[in-house]
Symmetry: C2
Subunit: 506 residues, 2 copies
């Protein structure tokens, strides 16, 4: 007898935890820290607060660790805490703007993984700065996907402390996760130079990623869906929830980039009466409208929903973390693919503390991507689309390439957010941005090449001059009559040295 | 004000449909067909029925297709149909045995994708062969993840027809999906030579993948979880649902490969009293037990939960679909990784209709894997671990390598089931199996090499003999005295030919 049973989302994700990056104790530890830090950064940026994030990883026994993350972000109000931390598939209202996370999944997966692997609870302390500090101790009822509240209290506080502290234990493998975790913090430093991040590792070592700017990227606006990106199911739900009495007002009110004139032209294009009440549309008509939307030429989506870093902040971050001799950054104009707007930002850095050739730093919506670089669209551009010789870059040149893609929909190839698909529109923008930066690098490399030549000439000449002067001086010692000449020689040397140094070396 | 809202699993998967392989209209069409066919094969194999599967893909308009799949499988009883086809995360009872599908997701994702992209419904007709045929027309309420029953009726039938028919429409791109779909059917023919599969494509072309054997692989048994693969959450739930009054009976009844003696030794190893009531265990004690389980040497998991094809069936499938000149198959003994048993089966085929060098056919739990071959563990073995020259195989040799891995837990690297992770235990088994087959191939290639040499010798000699005879005959014409000699020469030729042919060519 076949038995049908329902599975809670928590149970499903527990059984398929590799989807969210919890494949093994190494990856799980890295992913958990990353998800908690991303949540903290989001909580700060949401209200334009300069982030102060403190992360402590304590070894409880050989393979169990406690993760403790504290931030000064917006805080979570008391009644929302259980759902926000111990129930999967719950989140803030879905809108079309750039955001770091998968809808309410990452942080809770970390907490659930902790519970599965250690049996422990999660402790959450949070305040919205209203004098009330909430403390909860929670577990996830995995079979029901519901929070279990083990402890709940509210503390009156005189301070206006605002922020969130989360702490839970997890099975992990620090010795093998270490390099990825440190790399993650370092890369976060590049895209969030406005954040102070403290990390204490299980050996008690403090890593401090210091804020070097108070400038923060602007918050993205919410935008309505673009006609290119809407499916029939979404369209019919928009119809049901709309109060518009005619098609023109329905389209203009519900869609991005659809004004009255565009709406009328579009309705003509698909043969629907502009005065038609949307509620009277048949399913076939709605299907026709959605199909026609893909073919009609609307204005491309605007980048209002995006929150790029900007060239200055990105340069700031690169200089802070990589300390190169030379660096330049480029932000490309907004473009779109399949109705989703995107912006590509690229940085190129050379020399200084950079020792490795062709280090690639990838970011998507300000999340560092550390796995599966080889398959990423950026790797393809670097390896296949750029003729580096044209830019005086050699195979062993100490160069770092930083690529940041932001979009309302990042085309990840895996759900674990490891790498970005090879979308032609995106590939093209990355290529153009790298080429633009590389031209600046070529000028710089030409300049240091000229300087090196000049310096070599200087060193040869100056060695020659010294010998010349020395021999003159020794002659002088034996032949007093020549002593007058020595002064002339010294003057000559000065002139020569000035000439050499005056060579265009900037 | 932050708004918290709950998301139904259906809604979540709709927004993250790429997880299950619904990235774009090409992939979606391929994945939908695949998921429906896999469900049909499962429904047949479950009851040991020789599968008869009929798939029809009809073009409804330029990018909308109707998928119609009929099978003679076990059927679904009337009351279960809505949940089984129009509610996500519902499935048959989870057990530890090899199975094709992700827990109740694949087929429903296809149906949901159809609904999202075309607004259509799904029609299901099914019977368990009891004279009652159920017909449902369903939709998924995506916001609530609940089935909506639009039509339901039961027909009394005199025939004992048993099976299921599913039909729904979907947006797709046949012209670009075509090659993958055909490849999928062809590869299914390799691992299911006992199935008759009919496929009619949108142009009306019938593809018939004919059954060539009535032998089916044995059904896998359900096995209890192995101690190596249990997490703390699962362990504590096992404790709650157990009636055992002492630890020894709890361990022996709940776990695979734990007999009384092993249980007592293990309990000594982790310092728990054998007579202890499991319900009195503290969380810390349970955590200690689970940790100790990883370190104690239990017998490896048995392969009872697996259902490999077997060497004969696999050879049957390869010969049927690839029609090579030579073929051999190997099944390796069962092994395990992290508590999960697995068996590797490999086939090697050479020449005949195989024209391409090094074609790799990958299968996991009898599912063909068509995407991302490059990253798969099998590709690594073929490219890095085997010195093909040792086996007389050249770079352009027309050779096909067939790798089938079955396990209660396939270590997929992506949720879309595209490729298998590089697990050392699995890699080693694949390598050994290929080497074993390759030794047979070397013998075969040596044989045909010798035959080719012999044939060349024969052709040179026979050409020479003819000339020789001819010249003798012409001499004969001018010199009548030599006519007697000709007979001798003809006899000599016969002897020579026999000698040449008699050269060891088998």
């Amino acid at each position: 007898m076949v038995e049908y049973q329902e599975l809670s989302p928590a149970e499903w994700f527990k059984r398929n935890s590799s989807i969210a990056g919890f494949d093994n104790p190494v990856r799980a530890l890295y992913t958990s820290i990353r998800e908690m830090v991303e949540n903290s950064l989001d909580a700060c940026e949401e209200e334009g607060i300069l982030p102060e994030i403190f992360v402590l990883l304590r070894r409880l026994n050989e393979d169990v660790y406690q993760i403790y993350v504290a931030d000064n972000g917006s805080g979570v109000s008391g009644k929302n805490i259980p759902k926000a931390f111990a129930k999967l598939l719950v989140g803030t209202k879905f809108t079309l703007r750039q955001s770091r996370g998968t809808f309410g999944l990452g942080g809770k997966m970390a907490i659930m993984y902790g519970q599965i692997s250690t049996g422990g609870t999660v402790r959450v302390i949070s305040s919205k700065g209203d004098g009330k500090v909430w403390e909860y101790v929670l577990k996830i009822d995995i079979e029901k996907n519901e929070p279990i509240v083990l402890k709940k209290r509210v503390i009156k506080s005189d301070s206006n402390w605002k922020g969130t502290v989360v702490s839970f234990s997890i099975s992990g493998d620090w010795s093998r996760a270490r390099s990825k975790v440190i790399q993650y913090f370092k890369n976060t430093g590049i895209v969030a130079p406005y954040a102070n991040i403290f990390f204490v590792d299980p050996d008690g070592v403090l890593y401090y990623f210091r804020r070097t700017t108070k400038k923060m990227p602007k918050k993205p606006k919410e935008v309505k869906p673009h006609p290119y990106g809407v499916d029939l199911d979404t369209f019919s739900r928009m119809v049901s929830s709309s109060n518009s009495k005619d098609m023109v007002s329905f389209l203009t009110k519900s869609f991005h980039r659809v004004g009255k004139k565009t709406a009328i032209n579009f309705l003509k294009f698909c043969g629907i009466d502009p005065g038609r009440d949307p509620k009277t549309l048949t399913l076939d008509e709605m299907a026709r409208i959605v199909r026609s939307m893909r073919k009609f030429s609307f204005l491309p989506p605007s980048p209002e929903g995006l929150s790029p870093l900007g060239e200055d902040l990105l340069r700031e971050g690169i200089i802070k973390e990589l300390q190169p001799d030379w660096c330049d950054t480029i932000q490309r104009p907004p473009k779109s693919y399949m109705g989703h707007p995107f912006i590509v930002e690229v940085g190129l850095a050379y020399g200084g503390k950079i020792k490795e050739p062709f280090s690639l730093y990838r970011f998507a919506n300000r999340i560092p991507l550390l796995y599966d670089a080889r398959n990423d669209v950026s790797s393809r551009v670097i390896n296949q689309d750029i003729n580096w010789g044209d830019y005086k870059v050699k195979k062993d040149s100490p160069i770092a390439i930083i690529v940041h893609i932001c979009s309302t929909k990042i085309p990840y190839k895996t759900a674990g957010k490891e790498y970005i698909a090879d979308i032609p529109e995106i590939r093209r923008e990355i290529k153009l941005a790298i080429q633009q930066c590389a031209r600046g690098l070529r000028r710089y490399l030409n300049r240091i090449e000229r300087r090196r030549i000049a310096e070599r000439r200087l060193s040869i000449l100056s060695r020659y001059i010294d010998k010349f002067v020395e021999s003159l001086v020794s002659i002088n010692k034996t032949d007093k009559k020549l002593s007058e000449k020595v002064k002339d020689v010294m003057i000559l040397k000065g002139i020569l040295m000035d000439m050499i140094k005056g060579d265009r070396v900037e």
